[in-house]
Symmetry: C2
Subunit: 308 residues, 2 copies
Amino acid sequence: MAEKRYSPLVGAIEAGGTKFVCATGTGPHDLTRATFRTGDNPAQVLSAVSGWLAEQQHQCGSLQAIGIASFGPVDLNPHSPTYGHITSTPKPGWRNTDIVGPLRRTFPGVPVGFDTDVNGAALGEYRWGNGVGLTDLVYVTIGTGIGAGAMAGGQLVHGLVHPEMGHMPLPHVSGDTFAGVCPYHGACWEGLCSGPALLKRTGMPAEHLPPDHEAWVLETQYIAYALANLVCVLSPQRIILGGSVRKAGQLGQERLFRMIRTKLQAVLNGYIVSPALDEGIDNYIVPPLLGDDAGVCGAIALAQQAIG
Amino acid sequence: MAEKRYSPLVGAIEAGGTKFVCATGTGPHDLTRATFRTGDNPAQVLSAVSGWLAEQQHQCGSLQAIGIASFGPVDLNPHSPTYGHITSTPKPGWRNTDIVGPLRRTFPGVPVGFDTDVNGAALGEYRWGNGVGLTDLVYVTIGTGIGAGAMAGGQLVHGLVHPEMGHMPLPHVSGDTFAGVCPYHGACWEGLCSGPALLKRTGMPAEHLPPDHEAWVLETQYIAYALANLVCVLSPQRIILGGSVRKAGQLGQERLFRMIRTKLQAVLNGYIVSPALDEGIDNYIVPPLLGDDAGVCGAIALAQQAIG
């Protein structure tokens, strides 16, 4: 019983652009899950998600809270009339979609925690992964898009809207003629380094690229510039790099991380003096300990936070 | 008396690379101050500062705390043996200088608040200036160097060391052949946009540059890139832009700010949807309400925070 009180049974929704991963449980080692295609009909998927959570509740006992870690942009301002909505997404069917509301109506009285997918993943790693014991960290995902969630002083960063780190402007590598794929910014971080950017640049998906392909050199250089920006602006104690592109296919995750670490050190050039950026660099830029579960575990953590 | 309890009399030190501005008082409208040249002999200036504060205490009553907002890099980790030191500065005489220690020895039992100069200024604006009522803001100073302090969720951002935002890498404007002046990074933000960078680029100090000089076009473009980075990473509710360069001599502060605002909007290109970045842009990028007093007021606020 005591265990149960400290890790209450909650529901979790990782709302992604391709799929919704739902779970009930208490943490990464106690998860029951189901996956639903995001599609272009929000009412349908939200109804399926609610139905599955209700069924789980029937089988396993009351959910003490529900956490949602969502793709965005989302409205996180609790005083806003559109709090809990996905707002200006270009994703067909999902613009201005209330996702917190339908859950609240299905589970009246159950607290709902809501944040961005990347803030969720940052919180998941903070609670159970490579962020345990830290107060300042960034979780980056590089996949179909690029996003990042940050914790500063033990609190997730929200601000005016929420961070959109994937869209930071970056230096262009001399001689690189690729214009980037971001419809808004061309060669912002996401425009240069996302999965679709790699595909457009090389004609191949990341997992098929030969390990010695020049695109990996550029990819890691731009990631190093972006991480240098994060180091300069947020001074995180660690950067956790997730998403599909970081697995780096034939190159391999370990080699990709080594390239990024070396290039980050070259960009910073010794200006910021800290063992973490010097001999500790292998523990400074790391993959998520929770792997692809960082998001859904983050939604569990968001739910548990909503109880407090 | 009630007033006094809410705004206790404290001592403040804004430790800058050129001068130390010291004050006693309770806030921006109640300051007695003195200025000392920083020079290259820390023991001398710290002794003068302590002496002046002790004399003020003798005349005005007990100082309830002392706040120090210092140039850096500084060690802000209270568990570190070099907490309260200026660490790896290239400034002659000041490397590895303990500044909190001598104050603590002169004023035993008096709490000492200690942070970076820019975090101090951010806190000062938050307490009495253009940050009142906000939770997420950035204070930028562009002068001899470039630095910025950030508040996220109502707390100053510290992290691994502390932010060094002036050293973020930036896109290079096409056709601009200037290599920048940063000894570590060449064309980082500080290397491109600080006062010495403008001087090196044009042969003239900022205050003598004609308003139609092309350097202002480049200066504002690079500042816009840097502020776009801050918006993407921290999502501040407002950015306060201080320092000497922002006064912009013959061009004038108001025109400089208009150029920066327009270019920031062009860089972001409507991706982040918020009235603050659209029709509210004039209130989004603003000068400090406390003007050149942001730093010393910040030191007052750091002192008051140290009491709590």
